[in-house]
Symmetry: C2
Subunit: 458 residues, 2 copies
């Protein structure tokens, strides 16, 4: 029988997250004085229990029971054999994906929003603020906050706010509040609107607004939450890869190629890091983070120190960056419109353990439609960037006649992104090309910042 899914029971769900900081060397985040930031300095922004996770170098960190219980609403996520795609491409590759689209918010994001809401609640926090690009993260935090009885305020990048109006409705069903960013509610937002009233917004700007809204609450009961980039976010997402490993073991497979789309890096890291561990210890695997050609952080920008946000509220982080003031073109994969990249992912790219790729949004949409028709699930535009690379690899395997095992992450569904599909069918999706001059100009903002060291983990 040609079944598709390799499932785990709830009892088989991993009980610990994998912390890659135990296995790689990292440049520290730096403060305005150029010195490493102390954990205490972050305490107005994040609760202390999350800061401890952010800096921990323990390899395995226990998942709290309350988090496992909420995870069990949708986890373990199935590992799916992509039989429809294999057949359509007539490829000798065996293709598997983690289906992270089955969570109530529709993406991998609640893997971290749930523990973040839990830890904030445990620390006595009553209100969380955040930013969101395409809206997946804002929805995920609103969902998690509803589970733990916390208020939730979301600053949503304006271009996505306009493209995807029902994301706001979704957050409201879960009791969250959502405004377009830049907004008039923060100094950072007002300053940007004054200069450019028609700005499409960016994740960098929205992060500034959300941090300001948290830190500015004098009651001390509000904290900020980031849906990607940071170490503790990557940590929480590793449940994806840890489950995938167990599932592949059940069918006696091991991946030759691992693929995930990368904006801030979290769904990619979640799938890849448990396998990166194996690669650090000698295993042969190709690992591809895939980004939009319109926002080529890993493929065209250098490894530098830069701010995570436009208003420069965050410490300097060691990462691939197009510059904190860069406003990416308004591609529909809003979740990938980020000038920077997770420091852990950036570190691994810098030392050659990962091989980044870039695809255009039209390539991504074409692959997304092929996958929707063959595997059934309508992918988010972000996910479709990974799918485009999967199609390339599957075709390559056919050309080479190789029985490769390809593993990728289906990070989310596109049911709130159907307007993008309409535009694609109407031939209205533009592939933005960034000129070298535009990139050089964007990158000039960090010319005077300190430079990270090139470290080697193996």
């Amino acid at each position: 029988m040609d079944f598709r899914k390799i499932t785990l029971t709830e009892e088989e769900m991993p009980r610990q997250w994998y912390n890659i900081l135990a296995d790689i060397k990292m440049n520290p985040p730096l403060g305005p004085d150029g010195q490493p930031v102390s954990p205490d300095a972050l305490s107005p922004v994040f609760p202390m229990n999350i800061i401890e996770q952010e800096v921990s170098t323990e390899r395995w960190i226990d998942i709290p029971e309350e988090v496992l219980s909420v995870y069990s609403i949708w986890r373990p996520a199935p590992l799916v054999r992509a039989r429809g795609l294999e057949k359509a491409l007539d490829t000798p590759a065996r293709i598997y994906f983690k289906n992270e689209s089955l969570s109530p918010p529709g993406s991998h994001k609640p893997n971290t929003s749930v523990p973040q809401a839990y830890y904030n609640k445990a620390f006595g926090i009553e209100r969380m603020t955040t930013e969101t690009g395409a809206g997946q993260w804002g929805c995920a935090l609103a969902f998690a906050c509803a589970q733990f009885g916390i208020e939730c305020k979301v600053f949503m990048v304006r271009v996505s706010f306009d493209q995807k109006p029902y994301r706001k409705s979704m957050m409201e069903v879960w009791g969250g509040k959502c405004v377009a960013s830049p907004s008039l509610e923060t100094r950072a937002g007002r300053a940007i609107l004054e200069k450019d009233p028609d700005t499409p917004g960016s994740l960098g700007i929205a992060i500034s607004e959300a941090i300001e809204a948290a830190v500015g609450d004098t009651s001390g009961k509000t904290r900020y939450s980031l849906g990607s980039v940071l170490n503790h976010v990557m940590l929480h997402q590793t449940i994806i890869g840890l489950e995938a490993k167990k599932q592949l073991e059940k069918v006696e497979e091991y991946p030759d190629v691992i693929i995930g789309c990368a904006g801030g890096g979290s769904n990619f890291a979640g799938l890849a890091f448990p396998f990166v561990y194996d690669k650090i210890h000698g295993r042969q695997i190709e690992i591809y983070p895939v980004e939009p050609a319109a926002c080529p952080t890993l493929t065209k920008a250098p490894f530098v120190y830069d701010h995570g946000d436009t208003a420069r509220y965050t410490p300097l982080l060691p990462m691939h960056s197009l510059g904190h003031a860069f406003v990416p073109p308004p591609v529909h994969a809003g979740g990938l419109r980020y000038h920077g990249m997770s420091p852990t992912v950036s570190q691994l790219v810098d030392e050659g353990l990962l091989s980044p790729k870039a695809v255009t949004q039209n390539e991504a949409m074409a692959a997304g439609i092929l996958l929707a028709r063959t595997e059934g699930i309508i992918p988010a535009p972000e996910t479709s960037h990974a799918l485009a690379q999967v199609v390339i690899e599957a075709k390559k395997a056919k050309e080479e006649g190789k029985e490769k095992v390809i593993l990728f992450n289906w990070s989310g569904h596109g049911l709130l992104d159907l307007g993008s599909y309409d535009k694609y069918f109407a031939g209205e999706l533009v592939d933005f090309e960034l000129s070298d001059e535009a990139i050089a100009e964007a990158e000039a903002v960090y010319a005077d910042f300190p430079k990270p060291q090139h470290l080697k983990s193996r």
Copy 2:
């Protein structure tokens, strides 16, 4: 550990559907001459292999391997313990639901669209036509047709077409075509538009158009498909209840109360019929189909012979009916806007085996939001009608101090219905009241038709 889901492996998925026609007595469908319709007379509308299923009285019917393989994209569906709701209501009831929202189209509908597409393909059919209310069924058929390489044409009730524009996009991603009904493409549609150009449309009208589009194709390669009402549809949906039974056995539970929303009857029947079998054989269970107060087919209309569609293309079916010309008020639960009801469900209501309930759309939405916040999943407005009854039963169990087991069907998610939630929050959702006069007037259309017998199955 407070886990939520009771899962089955793909190997544990039922291999046969349960056919209730083996266990109940039914009035036959009648032709224009008042005589029982022969299977052959339906052959321009449905392929013969489906007609055979429609009239079969075999208790168990094998599920083809190709269907099981496509089912395995999302089935077996989890049975979920609604711990969040139980806690929020502080009820002694133990509440379980089948989560049918995890299919790619987001509802229980592909349980039948997949076998229907399979059987049409096997019979050499190249194009299928259908109608859709809220769009769940049209999407389900487009999804299924993509899996088997068949063309798909959908007539979508205008009010839902306007309320839920992305349903059309979704069908197109899967390669389907969708037009608003009434349309100018059929005689039935043109006749209605001539009389009432601003009609919101109805399922009855859309069915007429889809049948006409199928029967009118002189190549003989097109057939019509119905997403509810008919015996073979109820048959395919029983996989829901068969899985639920296996899952409840694993935790040694048996339901005291079973609840499902009912428009044409298929998600309700799918969950309930395998338990109706037990009830016929002496088991004590309360079984509630829940309909909108704005379209009270089971709670206010009699058991009669009536047409399934407005243009009277279908045979006379024995069912509870508000009259084939009745255009239900434009409630957001478009899938429940049907003047009639499955003959099998109607028969069971007539003999007192089921106890129908009706709720308003505002009651439904309030329950839907409570469930979204406690269980995470945003329900379809249709599903929310069942949820309103679940909340009533859970509160009753608390008042009575009874440890009841409540089982309900979460028939679909509401991610394409978020506009309804916006209207609810804005206080703009109207609860339509049907006067007794309006109902009597609607019902006059079948005054001269033959009357069904009151049969008893036990």
